[in-house]
């Protein structure tokens, strides 16, 4: 890549910007309240869908999507970042700015696909699933933090990146780490007024 030499400096400033916004310009709430609120939502969904965990996953995803399409405006208003030119810079922004500002975590970016259009985020700590232990029947099917996938999908779609986002593994299911995969399908075209083309 032509601009690979400038990447570290850029990544550093993103990290700095993320930390600055988190420290100085973000109202804080009690993390336990947040964790417990999310837990209440998931457990209510499990009851409502009679422990059909496939449905619960879908519902969490669509709730996340509806959050993501709005959260992106909040994010852009705080950071005033321009569009990313490629998925490498997108991954930096997601990990160092977005996760930092909204959840105060910085997931590791790994497992780049050969074409640089897919990557994984390793969530070393996940505030959504503190104190959680999945019951036996949910172990195999429930993606407890699936709302995150929806949020990422919705938010990225609003900046014209059509992506698939899904969990590959989760420590709650007994996996060694929590891995979230983001794959770019295509960059959506900006609309132009009728008669301009």
């Amino acid at each position: 890549m032509s601009n690979s030499s400038s990447m570290p400096a850029q990544a550093k400033s993103l990290k700095h910007a993320g930390e600055d916004i988190w420290k100085n310009r973000t109202e804080k709430v009690n993390a336990e309240l947040f964790t417990l609120t999310y837990g209440a939502i998931v457990s209510q969904l499990c009851t409502d869908y009679e422990r059909n965990f496939q449905k619960v996953n879908e519902q969490l995803y669509s709730m996340g999507y509806n959050i993501g399409v709005r959260l992106i405006e909040d994010f852009l208003a705080r950071t005033a970042l321009p569009r990313c030119e490629n998925m490498v810079s997108t991954s930096e922004v997601v990990s160092k700015c977005a996760f930092k500002i909204f959840l105060n975590i910085t997931p590791q970016i790994t497992n780049w696909s050969h074409e640089k259009d897919a990557f994984s985020l390793i969530l070393v700590e996940n505030p959504l699933s503190d104190f959680v232990e999945l019951p036996m029947d949910a172990m195999k099917q429930l993606w407890y933090s699936n709302i995150l996938c929806g949020v990422l999908r919705g938010a990225l779609e609003m900046v014209q990146l059509d992506c698939d986002v899904w969990f590959i593994s989760d420590v709650l299911r007994g996996d060694p780490q929590t891995e979230l995969r983001i794959k770019l399908n295509k960059v959506l075209k900006d609309e132009i007024p009728i008669g301009e083309d």
């Binding site: 992106i72 208003a77 705080r78 005033a80 321009p82 030119e85 900006d190």
Partner: protein, 159 residues
Amino acid sequence: MAIYSFWIFDKHCNCLFNREWTLAANSSSGTVNSKQNEETAKLLYGMIFSLRSITLKLSQSPPANEIRSISTGKYRVHTHCTASGMWFILTTDFKQQSYGQVLQYIYSHIYVKYITHNLLAPFDLAENPSETRGQGTRKINNRHFIAALESFLAPMIMQ
């Protein structure tokens, strides 16, 4: 300093909001979301759209090169474009060089607060494909939004 009008466009090329002040002495004069401004909105959008594509072509390095302002003989147009495709536009006289911070404030403290965080209202005003590509006519009529915007911009209208 004096401001003449304020506009919001969305990523569907639709004008979501327009506010025009006619008397500098009276901050409540003028029109809000006037039908008569539809044509002006299209022309304004077209002007910025064209200049944006030129600036993107002329910039050498890949990071986005956005226009900040356009000056004409009579007035100046200030633009603030977001990565999500929203355009915030202010037309003013020449007394002040930059309204970047004003527009950024409107976006982050008024638009996001009253429109984006208003969860029961649709996040996208274009409800179907026939309202995209500049053909939609829906407007922002949120009372809190309009009141906050008016009170924020009122001190800048006076000459």
